[in-house]
Amino acid sequence: MPKLVKTKVENEGRVTEEFTWVETPKTTVWDVEEELRVVGKPIARVDGVERATGAAKYTTDIQLPRMVHGKFLRSPHPHARIVSIDASEAEQMPGVRAVLHAFNLASNRFSSTRDFFQNPVRFVGDEVAAVFADSDNLARAALKTIRVEYELLPYVLDAESAAQENAPQVTPNGNLLDGKPSTYTRGDIEKGFAQADVIVEGVFTTNAQIHSSLETHACAVDWDGKMLTVWESTQDVEGIKDRVARHLKLDKTRVRVIASYIGGAFGAKFGAGKYTLLAAQTAYQLKRPVRFVLDRRGEQIAAGQRSPTKQYLKLGAKKDGTLTALEMTHYTNVGAYATWSPFVEGPARELYACPNLQTTGYTVFTHSFPFAAFRAPGFVEGTFALESMMDELAHKLQMDPLELRMKNYSSVHPESGKPFTSNGLLDAFQEGARAIDWETKKRRKQEDGIVRRGVGMASQIWYGAGAPPAYAMIRVNHDASATVLTASQDLGTGTKTILCQIAAEELGLPFERIGVEIADTQMGPFAGASGGSMTAASVGPAVREAAADAREQLRHIAATFLKKRVKDVRIENGIAKARGVEKPLAEIFRELDNLQVVGHGSRYPNPSAYEIRTFGAQFVEVAVDVETGEIRVERVVASHDSGRILNPLTVSSQVEGGVLQGIGFALLEGRVVDASGVALNANLEAYHVPTIADAPKIETHMIDRADVLANNLGVKGVGEPPIIPTAAAIANAIYDAIGVRFYDAPITRDKVLDALERMEIGA
């Protein structure tokens, strides 16, 4: 009998409790050596044709008759009280259907920390008014006629300044999240440093990294009087459904959310935006479809970012490299409205077996740009600092940086002391070092030409366990093809493809006979948000359970047809077989006419006696031109342990994408803000995301070994790990090339030239 279970769910290090409905598992984990037919094969995406022919419909492609278009007016000031708004001219323009602002909105509350239209506004880009009009151009023209009178207030843009006592107040509760820094201690930090033979210290900064999804945040809403349909470019259709229903006081069953194709998300597309709820209420009131698409500037300033950090690090070690103490303090600038903090201290706390450790995290409110999760939030920033510092320590100890890391490897989780379900870090070290030829390259003498090459490495720890609740159904169709149904999302990671592979494997059907319907709350059962490297390990096991359920039904049906006992019937490649007789399932189904088989499955809880983590290491070769300051990443070897690999083709794509965003974070991407809090590069011209010209050779070396304790597939997540170690590995390779350590990301050409000039290297 199924049981109702309350279980702990971890997502990116944040733990919540969720109810889930647990059935007796119908599957056991595929063993490490298990010969699989479809799973683990480099199969091209099931929706490749749609993506390559323009047939894929994204949210921004939705066009409906009588559609109304929404646009925001944004604050030009970082902190200002709105004295008055005169929107009379806009309201009288023909074709303008609604003008909303703080003084006319019936209910202005957007979330626990912010209003739809804040007064006072708290960053350059805060929403001041919204116009809904018959065309995008008309809405834009109407915005220009709105007159706003502001009373300017003192502001603070920088986190460390905002954390000082006399800083301008950002929120009524002060400038620190939770009113105080978050602290963590283990062992005795002072004793640890006293035991150290060598101590290194560094101050690191990381700039903002902006998601810059090519599809901006967007929704389209249609209300037919009974059902409110929301198309949204989102990582969480169910979350949007809940939020919109609550906002409009509609029953959840009357809201349908669809996210068939999502043009990039990277963490910024969780939950309903202000634009979503305002579009929904306007569609509801006007009884007309409403489309609200953030423009590029809005996307770059108001839709979230990886927050800038300043990190103080101090490491102590014995002569043999054993870490004795680690102290870390960070100031993270989350803007004015954050409700949680990126876990910047995560890598320091979890990566190494350091017995004495103290971290202090200041999550600081400022009149700057809002924080949103961005692919491995906190860990990208924290690993840049920690793994650069480890490299410096290795050099000070005259130790091989790789050896230093192996020396401090933790075979159990350093905080809880629990064993890991699996830990492939040492394998990743070995595989990566072999592939890049670390032994030879690290001994290479520093070059003295114009272009100087170097090699560096860094490690990574991250979550990615997956968790309940996630449910799936398998519908076996009249022609013995099957369809996977679940309300998950495919962010471009290949979710649809791996779910089809899992279903094909378990059902015994050819891969081509499996279809999938996801990202529609009306179609599939609940599957949770796609983020935190959770999807494969959350939804995948439920799909396998559902497929096993359907397969058992198919075997019973086939047994009747073949006149054999059920236990002797197996299904292979779409054919039911039993001791000398066989019959294609399609033929059986043809005779049965309208027979319908539906299998269902759910994700059961994770084992509580273990910690589940992903691990990896990257090895990077760079070339530094000491005349121009140009840094070229020439080659990246990425070796990661994410358990069993379901599809090496799409996994290598995710690894390459993570590495490229890591290169952007390390060398190119950063927000340029002037003294008045205005972003000067809120576009894709002056904000530099990597181009194809920046792409190095990237070699993916997955430690492809099933994590048999984690779940019935043996998988762990893979979306976030590859972005984590890239920046530190690059910084370490630059040090190897020119002997200069950079503490500030991105390491742009001007910084390189300044350093070279100081060192009197180059021209």
Partner: protein, 165 residues
Amino acid sequence: MTRIVKSDERVAVELTVNGERERVYIEPTRFLAEVLRHDLALTGLKVSCGMANCGACTVLVDGMPVYSCITLALDCEGRSITTIEGLSQGNDLHPVQRAFIEHDAFQCGFCTSGQILSMTALLEKNPTPDEGELRHNMSGNLCRCGAYVKILQAGMSLSGAERGE
């Protein structure tokens, strides 16, 4: 041919889109991207930056890749426009489309129509690009997911240079 029109009056413009003659009545200030997407419902091209930085709006005008988000539709009068919808012949995909699918040269897919059209235009002009030429010619098309390694693989698989031609 120079035409003088008022900015707020609609004018008839004849475009050849994917081989079909289309007549649209539009304000002369409207951009090709919007006319193709909105008036002709060809939504395969995307508008992402709106200022010719990202290449998601790439279409071919007389075989040349252009940023349709900053190209006036009026300027395309009488010219031949190819969008991603016109690249395949019925169900037969264009070789560049096939190569993108086989090599997994996309993730979210939002930039893909632009990438494919840019590569198609390059290969028409130069059937044997080397990797450097691919990088140079494709660098006007951003991919935030970072499918570049696979885009290069797709391109090299189609290049006669790779096949030794």
